[in-house]
Structure formats: structure tokens, C-alpha cells
């Protein structure tokens, strides 16, 4: 290591690599000498927050990850669950927040590309994408530009790659002004006994590089994702990666083909810190060393250094260990698809990670320790004091209920997101049973009758007000949405987006949310099988709202029995399942109608959640109900309006209870509730069935007509409501763009 050691490792250089002085000390102790600059780069990639989870690991370990149907929990490229019939569902969610702020289109595309790769790396063909996106307040000068770029980017990649994007979430809040969030989820299908993993096995096995060439893309991208923004971060503008969905589609087909032909021993995609992370992971997981010969790496640009090649984040690349006797066959398949194929190294018995370039050893590090010895922090945290419960009687209604409903359904958070999901091809594959717009997407598996139900959920304002209840609620709502279409919820992936963990109050939000998520997962038998953490989402000292996005998957035995939110016919009885106290704290009514963002969020009773959900699922399976919708953001009246708008059929509603103020009854956000409709003749048996199950149920109205009528209020024509509901987002996006 002669020439390589010539770059002096100064404290400044160490700091530029995002390594703290004590972390550098740890490196010196671990290797017993000063690292080369390439080695420093490798450590910075492996030990940054993004790859090492150094602030979050201790807490993530507390999450429930097991169930009889879990084939692979966290720790691989994606989680894997058994969905019966010899099939497995492979899924994960991942963030691309910082890149999407700097270059929204490319940031979003590469986010989608990355998560798709995680799924097909495991041998699964992607069948659906989902996303959860958060933007700053609409009035902020950057918001429109970010929305338009991110949405076009998510669509641009998924549409071209050829996977339907079927569900997601879109929200706006001032706390995302300087840090928008892009969380992308991919779901794939594989045969349960043909899952591929990252662990290499066997000494002297060839390591093969596949896919696109390596360029100087996003060098330090991984470190960037772990650094706070300040106002001149837009000036620093690191090279952003450009997504190439065309190459990834070829990579998918080529990978699945060589897997099918039995060529693959181990496979790992190159994501953040590309070659470094993937090679180290393959070796470390297989208890083997790895030697890389960088002269063999296909490059896009001349004169790339070892440092650059090890840290490049060029997209659409894979690393594999192939069965030596199948090498030729694999190469032919890759050449047929027009992709690069090169043997760039081999496994060794030494457990060292050795990188050679131009005949020189540029790095020689202990491979296990690179991952295992990464610093792990028990960062101090403070859990914020709980907010007071808002007494519904203390909230005066500033306007009639009808006006409030009209206002709410045209707010940025509650309005229709059609403008977004119409830019996503959500029908390709011919299996999309429920398109975006319902509680959960339903995607038929092969030719059915089985289907998967999937959704992403979180209510950040609840998490901010009470991280523990908010964490629980995110999981519960996800579970509820899957239930509402008739699905049996099986497992989740989580994407934990927070501010700077070095601030105790932010760490407190993180810890609280993780505890809440864990509790809900345990009580609902809804384990975590994969996930991702994104910290330092903070600008000028102000963090984002805590946003633990939950992506859930469930199974429906017969997709033809899945329920939808649209009213089906006039004259049907509308039933409300679950208890309504009129909880206004943190409700959108309180925020967007009364202008008060305050109070304790609605508590989540997981036992009630389960009982109510199990009842609803049973009713759907038995064909006893005609429409189903869970009650969430905006409360009961908003949910009813959504059912009416989805069908064009109105409803006449009955008076709420005397002991609850009407606006609290109609707009409160109490949890564990569903609205179902039933044919008039089956109302009584359904009510009886609920009572037998110990579940609260009440008749709240009858469907029919073309307006929504509340006692004592002017009737609201469904068509008018729909115009308002559909109007806000396109109107906003068409507005003067800045």
C-alpha cells in the first residue's frame, strides 16, 4: 500500500467523511494502522447512519419479526412471507428523501429503481409498487416543483419498468418544507422454495459484476443521506444519479432467467455505497473473505480511482456469486440482454476484504468487523410530555357541518390524489382488482382466486403529538385498511423517517414510535419483515414530523369477494362499527376547520381493533356486506362522503347521539371504526352478529338519492362534493408554478 498511503489522513478529511473523531479512533484500533484514503471511504460508507443503523439498531431489535408465515425477516434485501400454494411474497420499503429534494425527478426514479432491485434480487418478480410521499406546505415556493418532479419520477420509473403502482399516500405539511419524503415500496412474488440470498458460500468462487457500467454517480451519496441540510446544500449539489428503468427491466429479466437456470449461489444488488456494501455483505454473511480486482470493473468514465469505484452509486448493478460450471450460460444470458458481465473478484478463506487496483492493494480490511464493529449508539432521548385531551365540548363549531365537510374534502390532505396516481400505470399486468382510491390496493396473484391486499399508512401529526400512540396507530390503520378490503393482514415493512437523532427529543420520537409499532405488531400478529431508517431529515434545526411509514401486505383468498368503498345501491342500510366518542384532538377538523393543531391524538385500543376488524373481515368473506370503508382522517362524515363520491349514490343520515356535540360525532377521529352497508333485509342479522361478537354497531343512515343529507343541514349534492374533492390538487398544480 505504497502510493495509496500517500494521501494524508487529516482530521478534516475524516470529518468530511462524516466520521466522528471517536469513530476514527475505533478504526485505528481495529486495523492497527492509519487507513488508506480508499479504506477511509469504505469505512465512511459502511459506518454512516444509512448503512450501519448505528442510532437505531438497539431499538429496531425490539420489533416483533416472527410468525409462522415469515420466511425471512429483516436482515436481507427484502422480507419474505409465505402466502400459501407454494408462493412467497417479497417486499420492502425504502426512502430516497434527500436525493429527491435536490433533484425530484431523478431522486424519485432511483428510489423506485433501488427498491425494485431489492425485491428481484431475492428471486421475486415485482408485481406492484406503492409509495408514501410527503411535501411541504402548498404555499411554499418549492412545493409544486417537488410534487411534480417526484410524481413524474415515480411514474417514470415504474411505468417503464412495467410494474403497476397501485397505492400510496400523499401529504403536505410545513414541517416538510425543507425535507420532502419519498418512500417507495415494492412487492414481488416468488416460489417459496426458490428465494435467493446474499450470503456467499465456497472459497475461490468467482464474483461477477452484472448490469450497467460504473460511473462517478452519487459518490458520497450514502453519506449525504445521513447529513443534515443547511441553506447552501443546494449549492453543494453533488452529482445525482440518473435512473435507467430500461436497463433495470433488462436486468430483471436477465436475473430471473439465470436464477431459473440454476446459475446463482448468492446475489446482492448494489444500492447505497454500491460495490463496497454489496461485496462486504456477501462475504461477511457467508463467513468468507472477498478480493476485488477493480481493473475488471466495467466503467463508464476513464481514469476512475479505486476510491471512486468503491463509493460510486451508479444504478442498475448487481453482484453475484455464480456456480463456476454455469458461468458461460449466465454470461450468454446477460449478453443476450445487452448487459455488462465481468468477473471482478473471488471469495477467499481469509475473512479479509481486499481491493486491488493497478496491481496495488488499495484496501485490506477485516470483513466481519466492517459491519459488525460499526459503532452502535444508545443515544439519549427524552419522551415529550403528553398533550392534553381536547374536550369536545370546549370546541365551538365555527361553521355548519355541511360547510365543514365541503371545506375538509378540498384540503390538501383529504382531497383526491387522482392527479398523482393517474400518472402511474396502475393496470399493467392485468391483475389490479382494486385500483388506487380505495382503502388498500388488491392485486390478483397469477390467475387467482388468491390476491394480495397492500397499503402504506402513517399519521405523522399523531406521531408528533404522542409518538407511542402514533406508532401504534400507523400499524393499526394499515391493518385496518387491509381488513377493509377483506384481506388477512400478514406482515409489514417500515420506513422510519425522523429528524436528527443527536437531539434527545427527536430520539424520543423515534423510540416512542418504535415502541408503539412494536406493541401494535405484537397484538395484531403483524410482524415486521423488512424496513429502512432515514434520519437527519432536518433543516436549520427543525426536524420533519416523525413519519414512520408502514407498508402492509395481506392475503385475500378469493379476490372476487374483496370489498370496495363505493355504495352499491339505493335503499341499503349504513352501519357504523366501533365506538364513537367524538375524539377531536389532532383531528383534521380541529386543524383545518378550527385552525388548532393540538391535543392528544385518538388512543388505539388494540383489542377492540382486532375484534372489530375480525368481525368486518368475516362479514366480507360471507358476502354479508356490500360496501366497506374504514374511518380515518377526517372522521365519519368524510368517510361517508368518500363512499358516496365513489359511487355517485347519496345517503340520508340519522341524528348522532345526544351526549356528543354533532361536529365531534361527525368529524372525530376515534380509531377502530368501519362503515359498512348492507341490504335492508340483512341489517338485523348483521347487527346481531356484531352484538354477539361484542362489537358496537349502530345504524347511521340509508343510501339513496344523489345528495348527502344530514339532519338539520342543507343537502350536499354528491356531484358537487366530487367536484370539490377532485378539484384541489389539479387546480393547485396548474397554478402559477414557482
Amino acid at each position: 500500500m505504497t502510493a495509496a498511503t500517500q494521501t494524508k489522513i487529516t482530521p478534516e478529511l475524516v470529518a468530511e467523511h462524516g466520521l466522528k473523531p471517536d469513530e476514527y479512533e475505533r478504526i485505528l484500533k481495529l486495523i492497527g494502522r492509519e487507513p488508506t484514503v480508499t479504506e477511509l471511504g469504505i469505512f465512511s460508507a459502511m459506518w454512516n447512519e444509512h448503512c450501519s443503523y448505528k442510532s437505531s439498531k438497539v431499538h429496531l431489535r425490539t420489533l416483533p419479526t416472527k410468525a409462522p408465515w415469515v420466511i425471512q425477516g429483516p436482515g436481507e434485501n427484502a422480507g419474505v412471507i409465505d402466502i400459501g400454494d407454494g408462493l412467497a411474497c417479497v417486499f420492502k420499503m425504502e426512502s430516497h428523501n434527500h436525493p429527491s429534494f435536490i433533484e425530484p425527478y431523478q431522486g424519485a426514479t432511483t428510489g423506485v429503481g433501488g427498491i425494485l432491485r431489492d425485491v428481484f434480487t431475492m428471486g421475486a418478480r415485482p408485481i406492484a409498487c406503492l409509495n408514501a410521499i410527503s411535501f411541504g406546505e402548498p404555499a411554499h415556493p418549492k412545493t409544486r416543483h417537488l410534487v411534480s418532479g417526484v410524481v413524474a419520477g415515480i411514474g417514470g420509473y415504474g411505468n417503464s419498468f412495467g410494474v403497476p403502482t397501485v397505492a400510496g399516500q400523499t401529504r403536505f405539511h410545513a414541517r416538510y418544507n425543507g425535507n420532502n419524503l419519498v418512500n417507495a415500496m415494492a412487492v414481488g412474488l416468488a416460489e417459496a422454495d426458490k428465494i435467493f440470498y446474499a450470503a456467499a458460500s465456497g472459497v475461490d468462487m468467482p464474483i461477477v459484476y452484472l448490469g450497467s457500467k460504473t460511473g462517478r454517480d452519487g459518490i458520497h451519496g450514502a453519506s449525504m443521506a445521513s447529513a443534515e441540510f443547511d441553506d447552501d446544500s443546494e449549492e453543494k449539489r453533488p452529482t445525482v444519479q440518473v435512473g435507467d428503468p430500461f436497463s433495470e427491466k433488462l436486468l430483471l429479466e436477465a436475473c430471473l432467467e439465470i436464477m431459473e437456470k440454476g446459475c446463482v449461489i448468492a446475489i446482492q444488488d448494489m444500492g447505497a455505497a454500491g460495490l463496497t456494501c454489496s461485496a462486504v455483505e456477501m462475504g461477511a454473511k457467508g463467513d468468507l473473505g472477498v478480493t476485488l480486482e477493480l481493473d475488471k470493473v466495467p466503467t463508464r468514465e476513464a481514469g476512475m480511482s479505486a476510491y471512486e469505484m468503491m463509493l460510486s452509486e451508479s444504478q442498475e448493478r448487481m453482484l453475484m456469486v455464480l456456480k463456476p460450471e454455469k458461468e458461460k450460460e449466465a454470461e450468454d444470458i446477460f449478453r443476450k440482454w445487452g448487459l455488462d458481465f465481468a468477473i471482478v473478484g473471488h471469495t477467499t478463506p481469509t475473512k479479509r476484504f481486499v481491493v486491488k487496483h493497478h496491481g496495488e492493494v488499495m484496501a485490506d480490511l477485516p470483513i466481519k468487523e466492517l459491519g459488525d464493529e460499526a459503532p452502535e449508539y444508545k443515544r439519549p432521548f427524552v419522551i415529550a410530555e403528553k398533550q392534553k385531551r381536547v374536550d369536545a365540548d370546549s370546541v365551538a363549531a365555527p361553521m355548519p357541518l355541511a360547510d365543514a365537510l365541503e371545506t375538509l374534502i378540498a384540503t390538501p390532505d383529504l382531497c383526491s390524489k387522482r392527479w398523482v396516481w393517474e400518472q402511474y400505470d396502475h393496470v399493467i399486468g392485468g391483475n389490479t382488482v382494486q385500483r388506487p382510491g380505495g382503502d388498500a390496493a388488491v392485486v390478483r396473484i397469477n390467475d387467482g382466486p388468491k390476491a394480495l391486499a397492500m397499503t402504506t399508512d402513517v399519521t405523522p401529526r399523531y406521531c408528533e403529538a404522542d409518538p407511542f400512540e402514533g406508532g401504534k396507530q400507523a400499524v393499526a390503520e394499515c391493518w385496518r385498511n387491509i381488513t377493509a378490503v377483506g384481506g388477512r393482514p400478514l406482515a409489514i415493512t417500515d420506513n422510519l423517517n425522523f429528524g436528527n437523532p443527536e437531539r434527545p427529543e427527536v430520539m424520543g420520537q423515534f423510540v416512542g414510535c418504535v415502541r408503539g409499532i412494536g406493541e401494535a405488531c405484537k397484538d395484531l400478529d403483524f410482524p415486521v419483515v423488512s424496513g429502512n431508517v432515514s434520519l437527519y431529515n432536518e433543516t436549520n434545526g427543525r426536524g420533519i414530523l416523525p413519519t414512520p411509514s408502514i407498508g402492509g401486505v395481506g392475503v385475500i383468498d378469493d379476490f372476487q369477494k374483496s370489498a370496495t368503498i363505493a355504495f352499491k345501491a339505493a335503499g341499503e342500510v349504513i352501519l357504523l362499527i366501533g365506538e364513537t366518542q367524538g375524539w377531536l384532538g389532532q383531528s383534521l377538523y380541529l386543524r383545518d376547520v378550527c385552525g388548532r393543531e393540538e391535543g392528544a391524538p385518538p388512543p388505539v385500543d388494540l383489542i377492540e381493533e382486532r375484534e372489530n376488524g375480525d368481525l368486518v373481515r368475516g362479514l366480507i368473506a360471507d358476502g354479508a356486506v356490500t360496501a366497506v370503508h374504514d374511518v380515518s382522517d377526517g372522521g365519519l362524515l368524510v368517510a361517508l362522503a368518500e363512499m358516496a363520491m365513489a359511487s355517485g349514490i347519496g345517503a340520508t343520515l340519522t341524528e348522532g347521539p345526544d351526549d356528543t356535540p354533532p361536529h365531534a360525532y361527525w368529524f372525530g377521529e376515534d380509531q377502530a371504526r368501519y362503515i359498512v352497508t348492507v341490504a335492508a333485509s340483512s341489517a338485523a342479522p348483521v347487527i346481531e352478529r356484531a352484538r354477539d361478537a361484542g362489537v358496537l354497531v349502530e345504524r347511521i343512515g340509508v343510501t339513496g338519492g344523489d345528495a348527502l343529507s344530514l339532519p338539520g343541514e342543507r343537502p350536499l349534492a354528491v356531484a358537487d362534493l366530487n367536484r370539490r374533492f377532485e378539484g384541489w390538487l389539479p387546480g393547485y398544480m396548474a397554478g402559477a408554478g414557482q
Binding site: 431523478q106 460511473g215 462517478r216 454517480d217 449539489r237 435507467d244 436497463s247 463508464r300 445487452g338
Partner: protein
């Protein structure tokens, strides 16, 4: 007044389009092309006859909309 804004990818930024075109030319038997990078041109008609003003205007248009300065460079020519 006629003007042209030419927008090209910064060097080092991946150009998937260019790459695909290279491949297509090769398979069409057009030999001797080492590399292709694709960019955009905007032919703009501008009101008025003040060259300096036109240039400022076009720079503004490029910065605000026509170019994505994170990954692209642009050049403005007022042709008169």
C-alpha cells in the same frame, strides 16, 4: 427575434438515451460512432429587438424551466 437555447447533460451524468442510441446505430450497421449524448434545443421567438434583454430573458427561462441545472448545462444564442 430568433434565439436558441441548447441544453446538454453535464459530463459524468449517465445518459441512458445516448447509450441506447449508440447500441441501435451499431446494430443498424452505422459503424464508427464512438459515443452519443443526447440534449435538447429550444428554438425561441422573442418579442422586441433588444439583444441584451433577450439574453437575460432566455437565461431566466433556462434557469427556471428549460434546464435542470443539477444535471444539465445550457447555452443561449440570440440569432437576431
Amino acid at each position: 427575434m430568433k434565439a436558441r437555447v441548447t441544453v446538454t447533460l453535464k459530463s459524468g451524468v449517465l445518459d441512458p438515451q445516448g447509450k441506447a442510441i449508440e447500441g441501435a446505430l451499431r446494430s443498424l450497421g452505422v459503424d464508427g460512432v464512438a459515443s452519443v449524448r443526447q440534449g435538447k434545443v429550444f428554438d425561441v421567438e422573442i418579442d422586441g429587438a433588444d439583444k441584451a434583454k433577450a439574453e437575460t430573458l432566455l437565461k431566466e427561462a433556462a434557469d427556471k424551466l428549460l434546464a435542470n441545472t443539477v444535471i444539465e448545462n445550457y447555452r443561449v444564442e440570440v440569432l437576431g
